[in-house]
Point group: C2
Chain length 200, copies 2
DNA sequence: CAATATTATGACTAAAAGTCAATGACTTTT
DNA sequence: AAAAGTCATTGACTTTTAGTCATAATATTG
């Protein structure tokens, strides 16, 4: 990587960090592009080199950690399906808690809105979560953890809706409960209820 | 009601109808206030007589139907708890389907965002759903349908998260499944799983 | 019908998103 | 090592749109 590429990467990082900081403090709507660039120590126009639209910076760091968690899950084939999914739920909530409620809000807005397709991504972001979970369930069928006639697609939707339901509910209540606590108390029960008739 | 009040009410209705129509077509962000007023056949300034901010028109028709469903549920004391809640879920999904995905999206954004408190409402909108469900569960404890030590608050969160999880998931997937189908297939199972250890 | 009150208007302001020609630091070519 | 070429960066500029407000039109009241 030459000096130019390094500088570009650095600027991009600075922008993301600046936006992250301001977002945690104020929320997305309350900050403008000029503030972000000022915080990052670059000119306003620079923002638009890296992001087509103001919103695109959201996808950037909201997408990344979840992708990481998903990859982590794929490589963890030692435990049973329920435990693996419980672990995924826990890590998801950990991530939610780490990023905080304002970012969580923007992330929900981002994933439900088809207009917010990030320039660096080639489709809807949700597809990644969906495909990843689907793959896990498909593998479970292969490994005889789940019955052959398991309605994979349907269960995937149901499982994802647990995660997003919790997130949405958390944001609605303005952070009235602990995501991790929630994960501890309910995820296993919910997952068992969803999967029980298909588990072998 | 005199001519003035009637005219005012009419203008308000026209604005809501116009916004509704455009929203279904394009989504909230893609339309501007001038478009709404043009569609309604009034001047731009008129919008701001009825709504403090552009966003406030969303709360207007997103809040109303759910309130109605909740009231309907309260008056329906003849069936058991699970059936009553199942009915609530079904009506909720009916409403979601009726309004369509773009409005559903705006509604989610609206309820998760503390900045979007409607001028005509005196608090967070979510509180209504929450209090309403909570009341139902409390009544169930009174009527010996639920155990005395039922963690009402927690269960309320959990039940609401089912509804919003489904909605969010539906919007994410850009309407890949039928909300009513979903309600038919899973609500009862989910509700039973959530409530089973507390049912008498 | 004159005085008063209310609703409606649209030109205007303010703020912020997004553009782009000019710059100069870095890279490649000769 | 000098010239040519590339590309990240800049910030003044344009465009868009939310939101305001003095004025006009219309209705009510006494």
């Amino acid at each position: 990587m030459n000096k130019r590429q390094q500088s570009a990467q650095n600027t991009r990082k600075k922008l993301i960090q600046a936006a992250l900081k301001l977002l945690k403090e104020k929320g997305f709507k309350a900050i403008n592009v000029e503030e972000i660039t000022k915080e990052a120590g670059v000119a306003k126009g620079t923002f638009y080199i890296y992001f087509k639209r103001k919103e695109d910076i959201i996808s950037e760091y909201s997408r990344y950690p979840f992708k990481e968690i998903a990859d982590e899950l794929k490589n963890k084939q030692d435990t049973n399906l329920i435990d693996r999914l419980t672990h995924y739920f826990y890590r998801f909530m950990e991530c939610v808690e780490f990023h905080g409620i304002n970012i969580c809000r923007e992330w929900i807005k981002d994933v439900i809105d088809p207009n917010n397709i990030n320039n660096s991504q080639d489709g809807q972001k949700w597809v990644y979560d969906f495909e990843m979970l689907k793959e896990i369930l498909e593998n479970a069928v292969q490994n005889n953890e789940l019955k052959k006639d398991t309605p994979i697609e349907l269960l995937t939707h149901l499982i994802i809706s647990q995660l997003y339901g919790m997130m949405t509910c958390w944001c609605m209540s303005d952070g009235k409960f602990e995501p991790l606590d929630w994960s501890d108390k309910f995820c296993k029960i919910q997952l068992n209820s969803i999967l029980k008739e298909f588990l072998i």
